[in-house]
Amino acid sequence: MGYSWAGALALAAVLDLAGGPVDPLPRPGAGPAVLVFVRTDCPIANRYAPELRRLHDRYARRGISFWLVYPDPSETPEAIRRHQRDFGLGFRAVRDPQHELVRATLVSVTPEAAVFTSNGAEPRLVYRGRIDDRYVDFGRARPAPTTRDLREVLTALAAGATLTPRTTPAVGCFIPPLE
């Protein structure tokens, strides 16, 4: 059932906070990259900030690069910087105002994660979905997660495993379609 994406992707409009083009997907031979889609005003995404920080602190030094992706074109670099500061999300952020990354990953909500590897020539999507299973639906959450999906994926990748692509359902704020 895994969703797998492979193929050349021209990222023309993914921008860093200075407004320059940036490509967060791993280059051939580089380590895996995890993209976490968030927005500044999504309470579910915000509640995951401490967990994201922990994942970053643990796996960034084991060769996995971390990116925050803000898909709402109305969120300004200033608002994003403030959001990162408020929630202690001190890793690289990109804006995806034309939803190139949204389309490439098929994420639909925030927070949702997409994990790419690059063993061959092209980046390969090996995981898309929730961070963990704490949220079951809007307003229906477990007191603590029973499965930490993203953590499991990163642990396996850090150990050098090759993963079969898979997806999980994510619960969060819908990513609005572009105007």
């Binding site: 005003d41 999504c42 309470p43 995404a45 915000n46 509640r47 995951y48 900030a49 401490p50 967990e51 109305s74 408020d86 929630f87 202690g88 079951v136 639906d137 809007f138 307003g139 229906r140 959450a141 477990r142 007191p143 603590a144 029973t146 704020c173 819908f174 609005p176 379609p177």
Partner: protein, 644 residues
Amino acid sequence: MGSGLLYGLYRPHTADLTPAIAAVLVLAAAAGCARARSEPPPEVVTFNRHVAPIVYRNCAPCHRPGEAGPFSLLSYADVRKRADQIARVTSSRYMPPWPPEHGYGELAGERRLSDDQIALLQRWAREGAPEGPPAEAPAPPRFPEGWQLGPPDLVVEMRETYTVPAEGPDVFRNFVLPVPVKGARYVRALELRPGDKKVVHHANVLVDGTGSARQRDTSDPGVGFAGMDVELESDRFEPDSHFLFWKPGTAAVTEPPGMAWSLDAGTDLVLNMHLQPTGKPEPIRPVVGLYFTDEPPTRFPMLLQLEHDGAIDIPAGEKHFVVADHYDLPVDVEVLGVYPHAHYVGRDVQGFAALPDGTKKWLIWIRDWDFAWQAVYRFARPVFLPRGSRVEMRIAYDNSADNVRNPNDPPRRVVAGNRSTDEMGHLWIQVLPRQRDDRWVLQETFMRRRLEKYPGDFVAHANLAAALEQRGQQEDAIVEYRQALRARPDSAAVLNNLGAALQASGRLDDAVAQYRAALRAQPGYLNARHNLGGALVLKGAFVEALPHLLDAVRARPDDATARNNLGGALLATGRVEESIRELRRAAELDPRSLNAHYNLGRALSARGRVGEAAAAFEQALRIAPEDPDVLQALSELNAGRLRN
């Protein structure tokens, strides 16, 4: 000389020892447009014509800057961006949050969408969320800024800031706010500004006149103290008859006419708060605004708590465990509101009444209980229940792994308690009896019912005693107080009340012993100190009484009764000038105090200040024209004048 002096006791010494909750009315302003109207579906659904009126009325009160909603819904652009999500959360009825079933109790401020409205929102999202002709655009909603009822008469703030941690389970914290009022005030409205409304999920305001919450606060490290539910011991009855509840979307609402509640000097407000981590540390500092009135209350409601926590013992994995309770009303009442309460294992909450003619009248039904959205619900109109009606509560629990909110993974046996992993099952019912004194009949039968559930129970015996005392059954009350003390021998409030009951039945020495015991149990307990001082005066032990009376006045400098007692004792020990000062102050503080004017007359007359003394006695006679002590004193004074 001392024999003719009159002293005041703190009476009535009623005990209301049930957990106190009390209340801001749930906002009824934005009454939901829940009536399902069958209109033919429009050809084109537009924001301006169809969607904006629904969203502005039902969503915008919380979805605007500074309120609890995470984003604003105040314009076409705001709403269009969220069209799919709005369609989704309204069709599942997650939003607007309104857990009660429609048609099972007619509740005020029903914030609930009709099926037609939900269908419109879904169609609009599906069809591309068109705006529609600008000419049809309704004006964006406007909301008052700042305090909803204007500047409060008194603003009470937390002394320190509490910081909600960035993550982890929800936080249940209680904060103690001393209220700097002088004398008693009547509160007609209370508004809580909880701090960041994205953090504060709900709050109960409790009124603590005994300092017991303050004591717990000092023994718990950090600001405030932990606990999902708070039980306060109280020796007063009045305030606990009101719901003081805040949830997002609630504004302050004035109590109904004639239903102000009284707030005494030395009272603390206790904020019992449910706080949700947001992902970053969140400092909060709640502020309470109080609105006073000079109109004393004329209508006296009462809170009845259906519960059977003692029966909560839910095996791990049990999907359907029911806890029930009932109470037979001994008098006619009107039901004004209900407050259901369970924790995370609770699933289905029902409250209803079986009338003497056999009909069933629903009060509330919540089929998908969610702790996070608990609230006080008021009825659109008071619900009349005749004497002989049985009010009932039924709460079903799901302690299986299928209940995602189950706090234990894997499920464990769950019993009653005030941690989030424990359970509770309560249905508070606010009733208004026809007469004020009917509350004592309610209280007596209610506590007798409680004793059926919990033989030997402290709370039941103590409250039963207070009810009996109020109804003039001193001897029965004394027996019940002693039963309560068997369960909790060092309850200062009950020891003090037992002392007062003994004193009222003429057993002064026994009373003194109980007051002393109350002070051993809780040395800072002022009512007991005041009463001990007063009782020692009555025994003629003026010198021994003085330090207690001085303490009482020092602690409550604006308390006329304490000043009067001190003044009387000073007079009796020959410290007449000091006595005059205290008694004048007592008469100023409470111009209607017979005792203060009479005692002041005695003191002035002892100093030979005949004219002033006569004026004081005459003032006393204006309050009580037939009082024999005053008449006697005045005639002695006049006789003395003639002789001189």
